[in-house]
């Protein structure tokens, strides 16, 4: 294993271990997503289409991710860890990659509860929906981690992150909802893959500038 991969693995492991011990974020995300689905049931008038329900599932996913991302750099900020990480003799993009892996794992765990709950409350899932959610997770985690680092450097952290995040994930929602309801989901899934690739490369390349003092 190269030094870079070892750095990334150590950073991701740190995040997962920290969450496993403190249980700050994941329980909140799980509770939030199930509450949101319950609220959606009452928000939809009786006889609403399955398409509307699917659209609301995407809203739940985006806002659950936002909840997790707002906490993504909380530990680093409170303990001043980021300065240490930036000074460490490793590539700074490894910090982004490690954090993105951690965020993706949280998102997937939250959806392991959310998707069955959705199937139970509303209607059965299609494989296209699951594939679209998996692809969307990567893009959301990649871009959300970078924006969370940006927002952590500002005064209005919790306020700023949704403002930065939502315009950038509109394409994810378009692709995700399209893949879930369209007759031919192929082009929407391909679009999600393209989005992931483009923004992951961009975030990977530019993270260094965001964390360096």
């Amino acid at each position: 294993m190269s030094a870079y991969a070892a750095d990334v693995a150590a950073l991701a492991r740190k995040d997962l271990l920290l969450e496993f011990r403190s249980r700050d974020t994941l329980p909140a995300m799980l509770l939030f997503v199930v509450s949101a689905l319950t609220v959606f049931h009452f928000a939809l008038p009786g006889g609403s289409s399955e398409r509307a329900e699917t659209g609301l599932l995407w809203i739940a996913i985006v806002f659950t991710a936002l909840l997790g991302l707002a906490r993504a750099f909380a530990a680093e900020r409170e303990q001043g860890v980021l300065d240490g990480l930036v000074l460490a003799p490793s590539d700074r993009s490894a910090i982004w990659l490690g954090k993105t892996i951690g965020v993706t794992v949280f998102l997937v765990l939250a959806e392991l509860v959310a998707l069955p709950a959705f199937a139970l409350f509303f209607h059965p899932l299609s494989w296209e929906l699951v594939a679209a959610v998996a692809l969307a997770d990567l893009g959301i985690a990649a871009i959300g981690t970078l924006l969370a680092a940006m927002a952590a450097a500002s005064r209005a952290r919790e306020l700023l992150l949704p403002l930065l995040f939502l315009p950038l994930v509109i394409p994810v929602v378009i692709g995700g909802v399209g893949a879930s309801v369209a007759a031919e989901p192929g082009s929407f899934l391909a679009f999600l893959g393209l989005y992931d690739a483009v923004f992951a490369i961009l975030c990977w390349a530019s993270f260094e500038y965001v964390v360096t003092e």
Binding site: A153, L168, L202
Partner: protein, 236 residues
């Protein structure tokens, strides 16, 4: 002027604004003159199609401003020269103004053509709404971060995200939406009669000069503002 720090340095702005402003005035007067008196009326839309000569140049100018801002942001990250920060910020400021004008003129066109102020089927308008939200957040990011190298780099990275978001959102809106907007430019090139295209190009050149003039005026204002703040700090 020797007090000015590296923020406010850059090429002199003495001659640019008046020249560009004169060019903008001339080109826009000639362009709209050509559009209204010389170019033929559109067979489908009639007189209301004339807003095309205002709406589309404004939209393309907004793209140009966003692109220019991202280019300056890239220069900032590449060279580390801090003067690019104000240039990038000013370009995006202009882009947001022209983007808002695009939304307003597009909305008027939609009202005249289809009888509604807003149509989610019109791809360009939806795209500009996304971009307008995105670049408005740029200001939120700037205003809530302490001035310094960190803010300059964060803003620059966000500005770069913008130019990547433009084609990605364009693609997203294209695969999502129904196609209602008349596609004037197709893959085979401009689908316009010669007179219309000529009038359109003059209007576009005028709008770009106008944006350039406004950009230079605003840039000098922002530079003066930055150096004034520095002087105050020195005196305090």
């Amino acid at each position: 002027m020797w007090l000015l720090s590296e923020h406010s340095r850059g090429p002199s702005l003495r001659f640019g604004p008046p020249l560009l402003a004169a060019a903008a005035t001339g080109l826009l007067v000639v362009g709209f003159g050509l559009a209204f008196y010389w170019a033929p009326e559109d067979a489908d839309q009639g007189f209301s199609q004339k807003i095309f000569y205002l709406h589309v140049p404004i939209a393309l100018t907004a793209y140009a401003c966003f692109g220019w801002g991202a280019w300056k942001a890239l220069r900032l990250l590449w060279t580390g020269e801090r003067r690019y920060d104000l240039e990038s910020y000013t370009a995006i400021h202009m882009g947001v103004i022209f983007g808002l004008l695009t939304l307003i003129t597009g909305s008027i066109w939609a009202k005249v053509s289809w009888g509604v102020w807003w149509s989610w089927g019109e791809r360009q308008l939806v795209l500009f709404l996304i971009l307008f939200l995105f670049y408005s957040s740029y200001f939120m990011l700037r205003f809530s971060t302490e001035p310094g190298p960190r803010r300059e780099r964060n803003s620059a990275v966000y500005a770069l995200f913008g130019v990547v978001l433009i084609p990605v959102s364009f693609l997203a809106v294209r695969i999502a939406g129904t196609i209602l907007h008349p596609t004037i430019f197709t893959h085979e090139g401009a689908d316009l009669p010669g007179e219309m295209l000529a009038a359109f190009c003059v209007c576009l050149a005028g709008m770009l000069s106008l944006a350039g003039a406004l950009y230079l005026v605003e840039l000098s204002g922002k530079r003066i503002d930055a150096s004034l703040r520095e002087l105050k700090e020195l005196l305090a």
